[in-house]
Symmetry: C2
Subunit: 471 residues, 2 copies
């Protein structure tokens, strides 16, 4: 999975000076939206989590943009006046940690281009299109393997052009490094190198950069007033329509859950198949668990366990796994899910009691304290937010009461996680459960239990009550 | 969900006589594929399960096509020579059971058109495009609600055209019936009515037919040699590229499971959100269960129960739910999943024994018979096909042995269901489990247990061993 993109944004739109008034090229407005901002949104909706933008001229424009997009990570090319786009890419490369998508900043394009590159099996792909006759074409010639051989604006240099360069590429980390090495060798003789030259240089140095040609791609680079007029009349309406057509009707669901999902969440399911026995799959599971944990605690002290199943399954995982044979569980019941936890505890014949409370009045903490003070209970289970009624239990206060008495806490946070500020350590939550389809607004089908590692460790010699649901 | 389509295919391609040589219009070949066959494939990949085609001239061409596509359901318009396309649609309508997509047979189109109609919130949608200048345009004018007011080839009749008619529409069952009623009223005065006239007639009679305009849709109706040349040069390459670009790289996974998935399976996840408390959702669950059951038995005697979870969960559902307190379970262990069932039985402290057998040699049925003849066991669990080794157990023979001795059978058919011919009644299988991601080649995440209703009924007063996994 590609998670990073680089946009080389240092250039000024000098040929658009009348329109751009001292802005970087990417800040041309089409339909009241910056062209680079459109690109940022497309990248985010295709799973890119970090967009490294190399700035130069008028970098304050990018700084203001970055305030609105946490995914943007700016780096300034101090020598932007003396370098070309490759100089900016070299600066950006210091921040890159994996494979990337590389984009020019002044491109208007149908986002199917991103899908095409991400999907392509080649690790390095330079995107080409049919010939646009735009008057500012950059041509690509290829070798017998359809890999880059020449990139040039001059047809006489190219000979037989295979495609026109769009300005979007997929690069493996190693190939990016090879491009930087090529550029470094030529800092003296080619101080204003463009990144296209480094692509050809890397290919010549033994890297393999495949050219993917999309004959009818809707796109346009906007360098002058004529391009701008054509973009507004022809390119933008086509791009907007294409992207609208691929979208899905958004329903308003008047139910407490599951949450509705965006197009990008739905489309994230449409990816190449992955083998669950591969390291790649294990890494993805690890990454998901760590990202989930990071919402609520440190991965040193807390661990997330994934299950295929519903929120009810996650609750049952906790009730059936977290109370040892000699444990005594108090369940707070002030709503459907509290009642369900009591039902589940009954199924397993746990030694448990129920603290009954109104389904619409605040919990009586004094009464609860008195029960806990009897010293009978070792574990407490409660629902943070009752999905059905909206009732919130004062979990941090309950957590403090339990912590002071050495009682382990088991919290259903199905509709609280990722909406209410939770810090498992601060709030003294030892185990908590949630699902993919509530506040994180993913598709239904996965659920997870967050565990205090120390408490989890204590359970390792307990007999299993189930096989699948055992933590 | 729209499950039916109607193609009015009775017409001869008279203006293409040189090319078509006495074939129906839909049998024009582009790149060695019939144009109507391309359409059939697109419909199937968009979830259409039944394609009703009304035939007329040279219907044998459609009969040969139908042999290759079980989804095609032909009906012959006996009066094709005296009626227009509406006459054929009236004949087709007798087979329609719900909402439909209606298509002309001689259309080449980007399948995004189908996605657009299916996604559109209006129940009736007539698809329009920008103006193609094809020389054979049919224009649509609309009223203030963007509903059909006029459809005509003559610009002077239309006044201000809103869009060009593509020839693909979405019609609710009721609106289709209103169109048929309109046509029936005019059988005498308009014997050769085209379906477009009935669309306008239905709108005038109080139905609401929204016009959805896709300005840049790639499509072409092919009526003459000029259209054909343009289709080959311009339309077909664009359609093929667009559809290729939306696809997903197909990986070959060298693992025993889960199965890889096709683009249409992946894309079936990209639909409008649906509320799990709605009747629509319940109906879909019911439909899935009945369709699954139909593979292996009658829905009167057998029932399928769905779970969110893996194949292991489905096995655990059976082991933990199907053996009553006083039951005695024999588990055949000749592979990983047999061993796992024994582990699960151990977790629940069932009264069980294990029949050990080689993981690569056939099971010794005589030895098994001797064990069963002791009369100790009431239930038997086995794996039909061991995913890890490919070993098959002789389930019909084992089923017969059990049936003769009144022993209930519990079979893991995770990688057998939908690949091996199973008839639960004939094979004496009482409970069996499988998943969405093996032979039916769906996405992972759902699993199901097939139950003999009579045996399921007997379990209803048994205490639950789990909450989520209880049958």
């Amino acid at each position: 999975m590609i998670k990073e993109a680089v946009i080389v944004g240092a250039g000024l739109g000098s040929r658009l000076r009348g329109t751009l008034e001292n802005r970087p090229k990417g800040f041309l407005e089409l339909n009241n939206e910056y062209i680079v901002e459109m690109s940022v949104k497309k990248l985010i909706s295709h799973g890119i989590e970090r967009i490294i933008i190399g700035t130069g001229h008028c970098s304050e424009w990018y700084e203001r943009l970055a305030e609105r997009y946490p995914a943007i990570d700016l780096i300034h090319n101090e020598r932007y006046a003396e370098t070309g786009s490759m100089g900016t890419l070299e600066v950006c490369a210091t921040k890159v940690t994996g494979d990337i998508l590389l984009l020019e900043s002044d491109l208007l394009y149908d986002s199917i281009a991103l899908h095409t590159l991400i999907n392509d099996p080649h690790p390095n792909v330079v995107l080409g299109s049919g010939f646009t006759q735009s008057g500012d074409e950059v041509y690509i010639a290829v070798d017998d393997n359809q890999e880059v051989s020449i990139i040039s604006k001059h047809l006489d240099e190219v000979g037989e052009p295979f495609a026109e360069l769009v300005g979007i590429s997929k690069l493996s980390y190693n190939t990016l490094m090879a491009m930087c090495a090529f550029a470094a060798k030529h800092h003296a003789d080619v101080p204003k190198m463009e990144y296209e030259a480094a692509i050809v240089g890397a290919q010549k140095a033994g890297e393999h950069l495949f050219v993917r040609k999309v004959e009818y791609l809707t796109w346009r680079e906007i360098d002058d007033a004529n391009h701008l007029a054509l973009a507004l009349e022809h390119t933008l309406p086509r791009v907007l329509e294409n992207e609208l057509l691929r979208g899905v009707r958004r329903e308003v669901l008047l139910n407490p859950g599951p949450a509705t999902t965006t197009d990008s969440v739905k489309q994230a399911q449409v990816v190449a198949d992955i083998c669950p026995r591969e390291e790649e799959f294990g890494n993805m599971m690890r990454w998901i668990c760590d990202e989930l944990t990071a919402f609520v605690g440190s991965t040193d002290e807390y661990e997330t366990v994934l299950f295929a199943g519903s929120g009810t399954l996650a609750d049952e995982v906790m009730i059936s796994s977290c109370v040892p044979k000699d444990g005594k569980l108090l369940i707070i019941n002030n709503g459907s899910y509290g009642a369900r936890m009591a039902t589940i505890a009954g199924v397993y014949n746990l030694n448990f009691g129920v603290f009954e409370s109104s389904t619409y009045q605040p919990l009586d903490l004094n009464a609860l304290t008195k029960v806990l003070d009897k010293g009978f209970y070792t574990h407490l289970a409660a629902v943070y937010h009752e999905t059905t009624t909206g009732l919130m239990n004062p979990i941090p206060e309950i957590g403090r009461l339990c912590h002071d008495r050495g009682i382990v806490t088991i919290i259903d946070t199905v509709s609280a996680f990722a909406a209410i500020d939770i810090d498992m350590k601060r709030d003294h939550i030892d185990f908590m459960a949630s699902t993919s389809n509530k506040n994180i607004q993913g598709m239904a089908g996965a659920c997870f239990v967050f565990c205090n590692r120390k408490e989890l460790e204590k359970l390792k010699n307990e007999p299993m009550r189930t096989y699948y649901m055992n933590l």
